[in-house]
């Protein structure tokens, strides 16, 4: 758009035509105050804080609704304007309870800040304030009317941003009040966006309210550990008897790809970390019972047993199951540890997407995957399968708001009438299981159209849809776990004929993509390099077994047949999640690293209490392939990171450490000095060093040493370290992925998590449980009458 030039407070400002004055002012560092204006939400002009003087206009004008004009002369700061702003504040404070000392928002309150700036401290009013009791609207949302300044941000973010429309305004005049959709409670997606966007403490979080003051917390911006979207969440952490307690999750600095957005999990479901069932001591099975032991005993026993099995019967008798919630560094390390130390290729994880198929379909195609950010800017999106609103809330937000703000065209093909159909230009419902057929049809098979055609969509309509899609440019094609193997290849074939098309393959857990990229497969090394061959990994890692190992079902079979002598499970609960008979591994020596005594942990011979992603440093790769920094918020006493535990086991097996972790000038003594409860010390040290831009990689527990190796060896991961460490997301590429082997698409098994569940982890989140309970009760009530 053409540029417009105007003058604000004597400064020349140039901005594209159509820019709002308030935004144009920002570009030259002039901050016009506002409560109701919020970027990307509809304009209100209600709070009147942004009044400015525009020459030739008789009255003060709202900068938030004024579009800049050529030659406009604006004054943003004068006695008249100051007085106007001050009087707005006086009026607001007139009815405000002024309970700042106990208010959750105290110290982070826009009304406080504004009052400080404009000084409306003297009260002009003698009358009693209007009072209304505080209300609880949901397990996580509380509302305090007297504190509300009616900026309508909550109403808009809920409606426009989330497409939930659970908040409204009732009554009028001074009795106006924000109201929930079910008279006295909310029925919504419980995202808490309303709380975060509230400039004051009117909406407060059930998880955080009255717990602490903002300045008593340490704030750590890290990546959410739940779904595969990779939202940045800023954790508010304080010290506790257990070492630390996370008391808040939000996205106040909006620096993540998620911008404003966080769903219920990112915002509240950190509470599993302080669950009372958390393991804080290693357990060793003695006389059939898991009994507390020391770390040294545990590592010694594991090291000895693993080494014995490897040396007597061969590594192939050991199975390794990795995690979809551990860091890339841990996944890479585990993959390497299995091949190099344990000498086994029996490596797998809970697969929820067919990334190997994607990698092989996209090999050689530069820039063929879309980042999460691009989903918000793409001119057109095709969504096949999945229900992003439930399973990929950020992706749903990106799509929804892309449609709303940029008028993107959204094409949805789904077996359910998913909520995103409301944003769709075109929605086609298919029979469940027909997603692959749809891909085949798009790729050119007209025969598939016959099987697809149904009462709601005729063959011609399918053809019209395909023609429309072919006419798009820069289409982003998003698909769920319904599309695997051959279907996936077909879809890529279809998309590759569209100029600028990019793909997003949806996987369910926080680091599912990382687990795949880092090679937690029986037949694939990191970067989808085949285990058979002579990749860089073969060259650098030293001797590794060459035949494909057992996948998870294979390990189960081997366990049943008594052929699996040891099973090493890192941060995964296959017994619980994949419905595996717990007696399958009764003949195996089972080692489990986990936070809780899961269905898998209870059958273990050794259980090691693990730290979670909020308690360690490293990186995650989201489902789009965006690499992001995971920052340690603190640690819970008595736990260790999976990284450290893998290293310690390798050490106990007598492995030469530098061959596993290429750390710097450290010595064996460094890592031997585990100091019990403070064993995370080295890692914390690393966090500090990292925060200061120093990376000596002195310790074998320093994940950065492995990150170096990942960036060096895993194709597509050599992204800007500076950007990564600055907290930005860096998109990785699959263009140079290895020549991945043939795969079993049927091994993809979706997690089927909803907005209110999160695998095993979710079971330990009080926030998620209370919300899903309250939602279940309501459904029951409805169906009863």
């Amino acid at each position: 758009m053409a540029d417009v030039t105007l003058t604000v407070d004597g400064k020349k400002v140039t901005a594209p035509a159509g820019t709002l004055l308030i935004e144009a002012c920002k570009t030259v560092g002039i901050e016009v105050p506002s409560f109701c204006y919020y970027p990307n939400l509809s304009l209100q002009g209600a709070c009147r804080m942004c009044l400015v003087k525009i020459e030739k206009m008789p009255k003060l004008q709202t900068a938030c609704t004024t579009v800049i004009g050529e030659g406009m002369i604006v004054t943003s700061d004068s006695e008249e304007i100051k007085q106007a702003r001050k009087s707005m504040l006086e009026l607001l404070l007139g009815n405000h309870p002024l309970d700042c000392p106990v208010c959750d928002a105290g110290g982070e309150c826009e009304l406080q800040d504004m009052t400080f700036t404009y000084g409306a401290a003297e009260s002009k009013f003698m009358e009693a304030k209007n009072h209304k009791d505080e209300q609880q609207w949901s397990p996580v949302v509380f509302f305090d009317r007297p504190r509300c300044i009616l900026c309508y941000r909550c109403v808009r973010v809920c409606g426009e941003g989330m497409d939930v429309w659970a908040l409204g305004v009732q009554n009028r005049g001074v009795s106006s009040v924000i109201a929930p959709n079910r008279e006295d409670h909310l029925e919504c997606e419980e995202c808490g966006m309303c709380i975060d966007i509230c400039p004051v403490g009117a909406l407060t979080s059930g998880a955080y309210r009255y717990k602490t003051r903002p300045w008593e917390m340490k704030h750590v911006g890290t990546i959410c550990t739940h779904c595969g979207d990779g939202c940045k969440t800023t954790l508010g952490v304080r010290r506790a008897d257990t070492g630390m307690e996370i008391v808040r999750g939000d996205n106040r600095d909006k620096s993540g790809t998620n911008g404003d957005f966080l769903c219920i999990k990112g915002r509240y479901a950190f509470d599993f970390a302080n669950h009372e069932d958390r393991l804080t001591q290693p357990l060793i099975r003695q006389n059939g019972k898991l009994s507390p032991a020391t770390w040294e005993e545990a590592f010694e026993l594991i090291g000895k047993t693993f080494a014995e099995i490897r040396d007597s019967d061969g590594g192939a008798k050991i199975g390794v199951i990795g995690s979809t919630r551990t860091t890339n560094e841990e996944d890479y390390l585990l993959s390497k540890f299995a091949r190099v130390v344990l000498k086994t290729n029996n490596v797998d994880h809970h697969r929820t997407a067919d990334f190997p198929a994607l990698a092989s379909a996209l090999r050689g195609k530069e820039g063929a995957t879309a980042s999460m950010a691009e989903v918000f800017t793409a001119p057109a999106i095709l969504l096949i399968g999945n229900d992003p609103t439930e399973q990929h809330p950020l992706l749903a937000w990106q799509i929804r708001n892309n449609v709303r703000l940029h008028r993107a065209r959204l094409y949805v093909i789904n077996s359910n009438s998913i909520k995103l159909r409301r944003q769709a230009t075109s929605f086609v419902q298919i029979e469940p299981g027909m997603e692959g057929q749809a891909a085949a049809f798009l790729a050119g098979s007209d025969a598939a159209a016959d099987t697809l055609a149904n009462s709601s969509t005729k063959k011609e309509e399918w053809i019209a849809l395909r023609d429309k899609l072919r006419g798009e440019q820069n289409l982003v094609i998003v698909f769920g776990s319904e599309i695997v193997g051959d279907g996936l290849a077909k879809l890529v074939k279809f998309g590759s004929a569209i100029s600028g098309a990019k793909f997003v393959c949806l996987a369910d857990y926080a680091n599912s993509r990382g687990a795949a990229d880092m090679g937690l497969y029986p037949d694939l090394l990191p970067g989808y390099h085949s285990i058979v061959g002579n990749s860089q990994f073969h060259q650098e890692w030293g001797e590794i077994p060459q035949a494909a190992g057992l996948d998870l079902p294979g390990m189960v079979e081997a366990g049943k047949a008594g052929q699996l002598e040891a099973l090493y499970v890192v941060g995964s609960n296959p017994v619980g999640r994949l419905d595996i008979d717990p007696f399958t591994f009764s003949k195996s020596f089972v080692v489990v690293q986990d936070m809780f005594l899961t269905e898998t942990a209870v059958i273990a011979d050794v259980v090691l209490p693990a730290a979670n992603a909020y308690e360690k440093s490293g990186t995650f790769t989201n489902t789009c392939g965006d690499l992001q920094l995971v920052k340690k918020a603190g640690e819970v006493t008595g736990t260790k990171s999976d990284f450290e535990m893998i290293v310690r086991i390798a050490d106990a097996m007598g492995f030469e450490m530098r061959k596993l972790v290429p750390f710097g000038g450290g010595t064996r003594a460094d890592m031997g000095q585990s100091r019990g409860a403070q064993s995370g010390e080295a890692d914390r040290h690393a966090v500090w060093l990292e925060a200061h831009g120093l990376e000596p990689k002195m310790s074998p527990f320093d994940p950065t040493a492995i990150l170096d190796e990942i960036q060096r060896l895993v194709p597509g991961y050599d992204v800007s370290r500076v950007n990564l460490l600055s907290g930005n997301s860096e998109h990785t590429s699959l263009a140079e992925a290895g020549t991945s082997a043939a795969h079993k698409p049927e091994s993809v098994s979706p997690a089927n998590d909803s907005l209110f569940s999160s695998g095993t982890l979710g079971r330990y989140s009080r926030a998620l449980n209370s919300v899903s309970e309250s939602h279940e009760v309501k459904t029951a009530e409805v169906s009863a009458d």
């Binding site: 429309w165 659970a166 908040l167 409204g168 009554n171 009028r172 109201a179 929930p180 959709n181």
Partner: protein, 145 residues
């Protein structure tokens, strides 16, 4: 003639008023029904209802006595009429008599300024009121009941 509009929701306010005249107030059922018919959420319907002073979600008396006390009526004794009604009916602003016959409301200008003081009983205007005239109006209501 049914008024019609390019959007469904435009019919909301008149429809609410009709429904209220039928049922006496806007019950949860009415709200749910109208929301369904006009493709709105119940919340949206409630937001609208609560905005308009003639719409109510609570039952009122059979005769809703609305006395204007706004400026033109004020200077011609509107408040006396209101107080008189309050005494006679034994209820205050927005109160309803125990027999459910009357409710009383102090209202804003009803457009009868040149014939002040004035009141409306349901939709009927009563103008140039005196306390005696008001008595008669109320008595007639009682007879009709």
């Amino acid at each position: 003639m049914v008024p019609h509009y390019p959007t469904k929701r435009s019919a909301l306010v008149p429809t609410l008023l009709y429904a209220q005249d039928e049922v006496g107030f806007l019950s949860d059922e009415v709200i749910a029904e109208l929301a369904g018919r006009l493709d709105l959420t119940e919340l949206e319907v409630r937001n609208v209802i609560s905005y308009y002073s003639m719409l109510t979600t609570k039952p009122r008396g059979k005769f809703n006595v609305q006395v204007c006390t706004n400026i033109s009526c004020l200077v011609r004794g509107g408040e006396e009429i209101l107080q008189h009604c309050a005494k006679k009916l034994g209820v205050g602003h927005k109160g309803t008599t125990p027999d459910g016959l009357f409710s009383l409301e102090e209202v804003e200008c009803i457009g009868a300024c040149s014939w002040a003081p004035a009141a409306q009983v349901n939709y009927d205007f009563h103008e140039n009121l005196t306390t005696e005239k008001m008595d008669k109006v109320l008595d007639e209501c009682r007879m009709k009941a």
